[in-house]
Symmetry: C2
Subunit: 401 residues, 2 copies
Amino acid sequence: MTNSPAQAAGSLEGIRVIDLTRVISGPFCTQMLGDHGAEVIKIEPPERGDIVRSQGNIVNGFSWYFAQFNRNKRSLTLDLRSEEGKVLLARLLEEADVLVENFRPGVMAKMGLDDETLRERYPRLVVGRINGFGSTGPYRDRPAYDFIAQAMSGFMGVNGPADGEPMRAAPPISDMVASQNLAFGICAALVRRERSGQGDIVETALTNGLIGMMGYLAAEFFATGQVPARTGNDHPMLYPYGLFRTSDGEVAIAPSNDIMVERFLRALDMLHLLDDERFADNPHRMRNREALREILTRVTEQRSVDEWIAHLNRAGVPCGRVHDLRETFDDPQVQAQQMKIELDQGKFGRIPTTGFPVKMSEAPAAVHRGVPELGEHTREILRELGVEEAEISAMQARGVI
Amino acid sequence: MTNSPAQAAGSLEGIRVIDLTRVISGPFCTQMLGDHGAEVIKIEPPERGDIVRSQGNIVNGFSWYFAQFNRNKRSLTLDLRSEEGKVLLARLLEEADVLVENFRPGVMAKMGLDDETLRERYPRLVVGRINGFGSTGPYRDRPAYDFIAQAMSGFMGVNGPADGEPMRAAPPISDMVASQNLAFGICAALVRRERSGQGDIVETALTNGLIGMMGYLAAEFFATGQVPARTGNDHPMLYPYGLFRTSDGEVAIAPSNDIMVERFLRALDMLHLLDDERFADNPHRMRNREALREILTRVTEQRSVDEWIAHLNRAGVPCGRVHDLRETFDDPQVQAQQMKIELDQGKFGRIPTTGFPVKMSEAPAAVHRGVPELGEHTREILRELGVEEAEISAMQARGVI
């Protein structure tokens, strides 16, 4: 499946999202909703807007970092600290299906929108929120940041070379994972609302999302009481597996079970190694990993990465090159999957962003609209709300919008 | 928000999922659906079942690795290569809302369930699938595996020390992310189906999911044409940020903007550094990172990790300890958020797993049922389908179930 013609309606068509989020975690979530057809109104403070608008690589006056997280949205400026701003927000919420926020716990309550009030005033509303540690518990008020969530969730602790320090992932993975979890939770709550008429409050946290990814590493710790060791690019339980030296670089090879290992060794013309007691099964191969690595490398270094990839794929062995981002986006498969798309941003030119990872056959994700300039749709949205032109201008003069 | 009493109905109550998946990527997705109330029927080949049942840490005869991905499901054994098996699957699909599979592209078609047939026979069905590279494009038939997806997506290439090799994340992150994307996509398609009556085919891929996480790193590459450098635990655009040496270990500190940096330096009694031209703003601090690191470390190494965490949190600076998994699950916040839960597995005892990262107020995730033994619900499910007892026994004898 590939991407969509822009005119297709998405799965979430007719769902209106009021988006109070900024930086990464919230905007990534609401962008997922927008990609799939929801109408997203991004509310930003007048003057500066989302801080990411002025961060990262600015090309022709537009932040391409901001573009990565804010397509398929309209922008409305609104001073939520002002009384007038709060009144307008209340009017928007009356016609909304979803509200998403990523303030620190307590900020919404200070704005007069505690959980009880939200439930009472907007019983059909699905409220989505992301924070660092969750809205209960001793750290609820601590400031959070991706790097801290990577550290405290145990995620960093399992990553990195065996003889080195714990290693973060470079993408803000805790923000991204919590966003994806929230997008899922919001849609699950919408499914229920379609049936019951009742809204819900959905919450994800940067730390909790990463803890939820620990999978068999958590199982290993629970079962043994031992903290899983860092193993770099080696698999903790399987060998052969990892990066292998070739004549012109390294190739990633991952035979994940005995059948695959047999295929791999046959492809190397080394099937006889399975008759060697040291390598006869996976437990033995794990114990004699370094000896086997040396033997296998003597074979792999005789041919090039490309040769091995062609040869091993024919043999049905999972393998691939370690791509840098240029190689990734130049890759014919990545292009066939349209994982880079270009947004037509008018005077700002065409801005490339990553494509849609969720493909749908009938109601595909699409670029329904580009990335909004700050306040680009303020007047349009207020008009839709029935605010008079003179009033809009007056609010503008007062700095409310 | 915390977790739920077990009796609460989840958001997806009333949604029936036929689950043909195995190993990690599919089972993690269907577990998310089950956690939130969907009724999941896991179909496994007779005799051995999902291969993960015999992998990882086996305690009292039960794989705790399997438990991590298969709570809240019932298990039905069914030989899908047999004609009788296919007929039973067809009957199950008639009453299902969702079908999830993670075969290689083409396998479902060989079973007689190509996209066209699925759409025609089950127009209301939401079909979810995960594969390695997507079901179109030159690599569609290649075998996939998490490590290969980490390599080819560009994810490994941006992770790791500046002077070292690209570094994988230890959890099977491409499986987990594609699962989360699929759970989101399935629910989005269900929202549409509630409104239109029409099903959809939703697909995610291990590589595409990780490419979708590249965020500002992709933006940087698109904007500059330069491949982002690996920077280890340092942030590529911000300083101070990273691990700092203390008197008894390292502490992660992440002031993410100028206000936070000011707070951090004030907390260190080093605010005067901002008057030093070398450190006056972030671009200067990035250029003089090593000099500043040395100055700051001379201060941080005078106190312990615990002292710094208490002190910096009071000052509003994001910081934390790099936890190993024991420290993570012992952490009072993680406990308050119930990110470790125990499943009562009868004769297999109590099995701990990670908790629910998506919290809901009205219809929370819950342990509706435990982890099924292989074929534990075969008879029950076939009875529900109206199959006679004698026929069930005969099929058992023929090895169909």
